[in-house]
Each structure stands twice: as C-alpha cells, then as structure tokens.
Amino acid sequence: MKLLPRLLASAALAAGLALPAAAQDPFTVGFVYIGTPGDYGWTYEHDQGRLAVEEHFGDAVDTVFVENVPEGPDAERVMTQMILNGADMVFTTSFGYGEATNAVAGNFPDVYFEHATGYLREHPNVSTYSARFYEGRAVLGHIAGQMTESNIVGYIASYPIPEVIRGINSAFLHAREVNPDVEFRVVWAYTWFDPAVEADAAQALIDAGADVIMQHTDSTAPQAVAQEAGIISFGQASDMIQFAPLPRVASIIDNWAPYYIRRVGEAMEGTWEQADTWEGIDTGMVVIGEMTDAIPAELRASAQAMIDAMAAGEYHPFTGPINRQDGTAWLAEGEIADDGTLAGMNFYVEGMTGEIPN
C-alpha cells in the first residue's frame, strides 16, 4: 500500500490545478452497490436513497454509482476510482465491503465514508450505519403468528450471522406471543440474492406445510411462489407492493433516504462526525409498508399499536423474560437486551426448533 503517497500527491496535484473550478464544483457522492437497483429489494432501497439525495440537494450534489460490485479487492478498486474521479463521499452498501472501505479510507483521509451494516471504523473518516430491522420483524412476526392456520411459518434465511438470527428470534418471539402453537421452519439459502434458490426455498417450506412465508433474502421470487400457492408473504427490504394485497400483506422497508440526506448535508457543511448509527422505527429508518385488507382490522390495529409503541420508545422487542433455546436464562423479567448482545447474537431463543448451522 505504499503507492499511496504517490497517489495522494498526484490527486492533490490534480485538485490543486483544478482549484478555481472546484469552488463551484458540486459535492460528489458515490454509491457502491452489491446488486442492481432493479432487484426491487436491498439495492433498490439504497438507490431510492441516492435519488432522494439528488432531489434534495439539486445541483449542489452529483451522485454516481457502480452496481454489481463484488466484495473484496474489486470493491476497493471501484471506491478508489470513484474518488480519483472526484467523489467527496462514498456510501458502501453491503456488509462485505467493510475491510475494503477501511483500506480505502486510510488512503483518502479527506473523503467521507459511510459503510452500511458493518462494524469496522478504523479511521476517523469512516462511519457505519444500520437499521434495527428486528423491530420491523417483531411486527411481521406478530401478524404471521395470528394469520397462520397451519401454525407453521416458513422463514427463508440468508446466512447464519447475527443480523439474520436476530430477525428470526424477534419474529418468532412475537409470533409465539400471540399463538403458543406456532412453529418456525428455517431454510438457509446461503445467498442474499438468487431468485432461483429463493423460489426453491419458498416451495420447500410450503411443501413442509408453511402457510406464511417470511424472507431475509432480497428478491421477489418467494413472493411469486407464495402467490401461486395462495399463501401469505411479507415484502423484504423494499415494499414489494406489486404483490399486494395478497400474498404480500405487509412489508419491512429499509428507508435510507433521511439518513443519506442528513449525512451528505453534514459532510457538505463540515459538521460530519464519525458515528455508529443504529436506528429503527422511531426515526423512520425502518418502515412497515401498508398493511393490506387481507389482515383482519383488529390485527392491523394491534400491529399498529406495536409500531406506535416502538416509535415512542416505549417497547423493545427483546424485553425479558426470555430464555435461550437450551433453556438457560438470557433476560430477566422486564430486562431489555443490550445492543452489544444483539449485535453479536448467535443463539436461538427458547421454543425455536432446529439448529443454527455452522
């Protein structure tokens, strides 16, 4: 990495030469996407955030993006080229970009970096941000628990990592709360986005008796399978409203736009500071998409009450008493899970069947 000084020198030279023009130059924000905005899921929502930034700041901000960027050295190269091409701020929108983001951030101390769903902040110009998706999953679990007639909820999980396990636990706890007989069947797809695999997983769960499907993968393929089978599903990452009112009865939306607008504004004003942001329903980073008429009015009302309670900070989805799957105590009566445990969650809660693969 010792080509840096040379690189920086030449970048500085270029900047210096361009100084008179730079005064009117728009602030350039780059986005690195793991998928394509056309996934109508994870990347789509990040791109909505990018478009919101463009709309909010108008001519003062330029945005660029590169899609389908593999994690690892390719991401490092894409970021560097973005910056050499004038980016002042870079949003890297997948967990796997963590090492690359920090490596590049070390090379360009004057560029602001925002890494989604990560934890590495090795340089003062790197922030991480994520959403408390588990709050949304609690609401979906609440709905799923009451809507299921077979008492089997199918769950398409991506990888056995804390983020995903936390979501399963949150959904399960709130399904059990309203339906003591409900069981979760989890299929590990080992992918974030693969319509064929996701469709197969959905079909396997339906064959196993599930009449409600939840997904922690990004494509709409499970929605299509659910539609065919006449069962219920929930939109993931983005609204997936095209599958409403059935099978999609509600959705969990990642709403990055307010955060992106805020952070870009701070960077432009020079008030940007390193942060580890983890926001949920209260700030609108997690939104529950329209609950359709397929859900009974009473259930819609109780789900809305739950949303309101979380928005007001009166309810935390992981409030004791909660035991671990093996029966040992985790949270005492009234105790609320701390963020550290949640961030590294690698166990199921009591009542979950099956094992987390390793």
């Binding site: 990495m1 010792k2 690189l7 394509t36 590169v66 593999p70």
Partner: protein
C-alpha cells in the same frame, strides 16, 4: 454460396490478425450499443481501453490494478489450458480456487499469531495441495468410475461454496470480529501476508507465479514430451493411445495441475488483495479463466495477453459505469461481444471461406 473449407494448417496471418480484428469489431459493435444507450461511443471506448492505461487521473492507480486483476485469471487459465488441449474439461476451477484459499488460509491461521517466515511458504503449499486434492475427485472418478469430469467438477463448485460459507461463518471466523462472518485479515498480518513485492506495481507473489506458469507452460508444450502427448491426445486420441500415451495418467496430470494452480491462485488472493476468507470470497475468477483460456487460444502467451485484456475491460468497464453511468450489464455484454468475435474469427484461422459450389470430392 458461401462454404468453409478446412485448411491443412491454421493460417498464421489469421492466428495473429484474428484477435486484432476481433477487438476492432467489438469496439464497433460495442460502440453501437453504447450509442443506443445514449452515451458517446468514442468516449466510452476510450474510457474502457485507454483511460485505465494512460489517463493522467487514473493510470498510476489502474495500471498496477491491471496486474492484480489479471494475475489469478492467467494463473488459473494456464492450468486449464493443459487439460483443454488434451480434451479434459475441468470446469470446476472456481471450486479448486475456493478450496485452495480455505486450506492456505486455514494453515496460516492455525499458527496465528506467529510471524515465522516459514508460514507463508507453508500456506502456498497448502493452497496448491487443497486445489490439487479437490480436482482429484473428478479426476479419479473419471478414471475409475467413468464419470463425466465436466459435471463432477462443476457440481463440486457448489460444494466448495457451501464449505466457504461454513468456514466464514464458523470454523475460520475471526474470534475478535464480534460474531460477524469473515476470518482474520491475513494480508495485514506479517507472516501470512502476500505483499506487493515492488511498491506501486501491483506485483505480488501470485502475479509472479502467473508469469512463471506462463513460461513453464510454454516450455512444457513446446519442448517436452508431455506437452507433445497432451497435444496428441487432444487432436488424435486413438493415435495417442497407440503411441503409448496413458489416458488415465493424462487425466490425473492435467486435472491435478489445473487444480493445484487454481488453488494457488485462491491462496494468493486470500492472503493478498482479498485479505480474508469471507462468505462471498470467490468472485468468479475460476469461470472467467475458462474464457481467458479460450480467448488466448490455449496458448500460454495468448493467455497472458488475454488475461490482461480481460482485466482491462473489467477495470475500464467500471470507469465507464462511473463516468458515463453505463449499466453494468452493458459492460458484460461488451465482454461477451469480444469473446463472440474472437471465436467467430477463429473459424477463419482454421477454415478458408470459398465462394461458389463445392467441387466434386
């Protein structure tokens, strides 16, 4: 009427001129596509082919990156080309790449936090061995159970991917990574890192290994009896058998060599540019290398050039996305055109185009 007549010898002119014409045709067809997408075609072509190499703003960064990207492609493609010349189709280099990376990284991490200079050579051996053993599964099955090596080696890629996910989220996970998937960083730990050998060149051990492999393959194919046997087995399998070439031995040799080189490529990548084992560590080098091998006409020097060209279109393609907002699939289509024209023009090297009716045979 147009018809093709097989040349007794491939035309030397077309062997060299074909690829150049293919690049030109790709630029024209790609330019039409870029224009249809609303971009200036000349600018797009310039950004893809010229800017990574010569633009003042990017070149000092992009040129070394070219080697970083081309290194694993060349190393894997060289291995694959041996088998392809002999009619042995290892399609599973991606899996061997993964297993090599896991074995090499596992070896290095087993001794963590030791910084002994013996660790990296051990990791290289473990990587070679991992890829070799993974390729032996389809090879032995082909020799002893007559299975199809194309299918077996391809399906083993998916097995390797599952092992990778399990390693990244389980047994190789960084104990200090607060439960997140991914191993410790190998490239930032002395002893397990595969560093840039000369500052600012992008040259690491893997790139060096790729160059050595090119030379070794060239010597093997042109100066060694084994190279002759490989070519013979590919062109005239029956003659090869009568000539005393053991098909089983060739299968094991070719599969083993390509597996070992793919495994080494994985190790060099995981200990260098990638830095760690992650769920999605493999990014398709093993598959792209198949294209590189054919793009280079299974010739070591050709593969060297093809690997660099492929890397150039990757890096230039990213620049085109950035600067012109071209969609990523259009870049892939552009790469596809390149392969299409090359293979299409390949026909001209081996066949003569004749007008009119075929003479009575």
């Amino acid at each position: 009427m147009i018809r093709l007549e097989k040349r007794p010898q491939p035309s030397q002119g077309w062997v060299i001129g074909g690829p150049i014409l293919a690049v030109v045709l790709t630029m024209i067809a790609g330019g039409v596509m870029f224009a249809a997408l609303g971009s200036d075609p000349l600018e797009a072509i310039r950004i893809i082919f010229w800017d990574p190499l010569f633009s003042e703003r990017f070149a000092s960064y992009s040129r070394p990156q070219l080697l970083v990207k081309a290194g694993p492609l060349i190393l894997i493609a060289i291995g694959l080309s041996l088998g392809f010349r002999a009619g042995i189709w290892n399609i599973g280099a991606e899996g061997q790449y993964i297993v090599g990376a896991i074995c090499g990284a596992g070896f290095g991490l087993a001794f963590y936090p030791s910084e002994s200079p013996l660790i990296f050579p051990g990791m290289v051996l473990a990587g070679l061995l991992g890829g070799f053993l993974w390729s032996m599964i389809p090879a032995l099955l082909k020799v002893y159970a007559r299975t199809n090596e194309i299918l077996v080696s391809l399906l083993l890629v998916y097995v390797a991917e599952a092992m990778l996910a399990s390693a990244a989220t389980g047994w190789l996970r960084n104990p200090e990574g607060s439960g997140f998937p991914g191993s410790r960083n190998l490239s930032r730990h002395p002893g397990t890192n595969n560093p840039e050998l000369i500052d600012g060149t992008g040259m690491h051990w893997g790139v060096l290994a790729a160059f050595i492999a090119v030379i070794a393959a060239y010597v093997l194919m042109n100066r060694h009896i084994l190279g002759y046997q490989i070519k013979l087995a590919g062109q005239a399998p029956r003659a090869a058998r009568f000539g005393g070439v053991s098909p089983a031995r060739l299968v094991l040799l070719c599969m083993g060599a390509s597996g070992a080189l793919a495994g080494a490529a994985g190790l060099f990548e995981v200990s260098g540019p990638a830095g760690q084992i992650t769920i999605d560590f493999n990014v398709g080098y093993g598959f792209t290398a198949i294209i590189v091998a054919f793009l280079g006409r299974l010739n070591p020097i050709g593969i060297l050039l093809a690997g660099m060209l492929m890397a150039l279109t990757f890096i230039g393609g990213e620049l085109a996305q950035l600067m012109l907002g071209l969609p990523a699939p259009s870049i892939q289509a552009f790469q596809g055109m390149l392969l299409f024209f090359l293979l299409a023009l390949d026909v001209l090297a081996n066949y003569r185009v004749k007008w009119g009716r075929e003479a009575a045979a």
